[in-house]
Symmetry: none
Subunit: 243 residues, 2 copies
């Protein structure tokens, strides 16, 4: 895939941004690195003159920005999403540093749209939001002062993505067809129904079953065909026994 196309397939998703100035700074940071798709999940204030002012010459990105109500909507039709997060989590997926994540992200643009997801300035991404993404990503900062602002975080990831997109990729093996975000979520929802019906899972007392299963299946990229097989199995498990 040629370079401009790879960058065109990368969405920058800002979730629950409090300060419109940071939206403008993110747009400017994106444009300096050749990214153009900005998605805003429930921003506190947008459009906003403060965002326009901070965007400088990148107001065109603000004009085309998509505003949606939930992260799920922003991830529709994506094949991969990296959640930029500073916090360590109890049940963490394996996490990547910005540089390797950028290489992965650019690689995955061969399959479709991908997303780089940033959370609220103060609280970051919620656990649920991180759970919707394929992978948590951290920017290696000074452990004694890791206070990157949102614009700076977008700038660094956008730069890494540009660097990764400019390096020619090694010749690839034939790629399997991977499941989309929707297909993966459809499978997880089906699994939840089946284990609830079987009595293994009690939605009133969920414990950590579903996050664990998400984490386990997210360790690999499920292929479309694998999702189809797994769902076929679940369907037969749900049917009344013939014995």
């Amino acid at each position: 895939m040629n370079r401009p196309l790879a960058l065109d397939r990368i969405r920058v998703v800002l979730s629950h941004t409090s300060h419109p100035g940071n939206i403008g700074a993110a747009a400017r940071a994106m444009k300096t690195m050749g990214l153009s798709q900005l998605w805003l999940v429930a921003p506190d204030s947008f459009p906003d003159a403060v965002a326009d002012a901070r965007a400088s010459g990148a107001t065109d990105l603000l004009a085309c920005a998509r505003v949606v109500a939930t992260l799920e909507e922003a991830l529709a039709d994506t094949v991969f999403a990296a959640a930029v997060t500073a916090r360590r989590r109890e049940l963490s997926l394996p996490r990547m540093h910005a540089r390797e994540a950028a290489v992965e992200l650019v690689d995955r643009t061969q399959e479709g749209e991908v997303a780089l997801v940033f959370g609220n300035e103060t609280s970051g991404l919620s656990n649920d939001e991180v759970g919707l993404c394929s992978l948590p990503v951290t920017i290696p900062t000074n452990p004694e002062f890791s206070s990157l602002n949102l614009g700076a975080a977008v700038q660094l990831l956008a730069y890494e993505v540009r660097m990764a997109a400019l390096v020619p990729p090694p010749p690839a093996d034939p790629r399997p067809e991977y499941a989309t975000h929707e297909q993966f979520e459809g499978f997880i929802a089906h699994l939840e129904r089946a284990v609830t019906a079987s009595g293994f899972h009690d939605p009133a007392n969920p414990k950590r079953l579903l996050p664990r299963m998400r984490r386990m299946f997210n360790r690999i990229r499920l292929e479309k065909e694998e999702v189809a097989i797994l769902r076929g199995m679940l369907t037969t498990f749900e049917q009344p026994k013939r014995r």
Copy 2:
């Protein structure tokens, strides 16, 4: 040379900065990446409350900043200086991209102090100033929109320098306990029984189901606890429905 020492030997020199806010932003960007030595050549306004505000938790760097009249003074006792510049110049030295320049800079800290030099927001570094440095450095930006602000440029170079100095092992999560070969085989055998009983799998006409499931779960590299959960699920799927 160990890591903190390398970062301690890198000066960030801002020459003729117009806006004190940019000095604060630069201090914050430096501190997030573990740099601490800020030198200011003839700033328009410093100290300044606007700089303090933008520095956030990095006002200690501002308090220790050295203010000098000329770039020559700021480069005193350095063994290497990289001039960050966007413009192409008539009589240019060979120029490096930020990433390779950061590696070079960190490498040269073994010999002594080094500097990363940034010019005025509007006019950049003068030819004379670039001439005082060892090497011009550019940040690869979108050729159609290369408008990085000063804080962003400092952030990107500080990040590259940190990456070059640390080449850090990613923060390792505690290693999970993986399933043994026997546990894995026990799970696959259990899966085979369950999908046979449910009617999804016909042992007389096996197709590629079990090899595919082996391949998929092998990619996941199952943990002990995951095998226990999956077998727990299968057991409930095998029980007669209570509905």
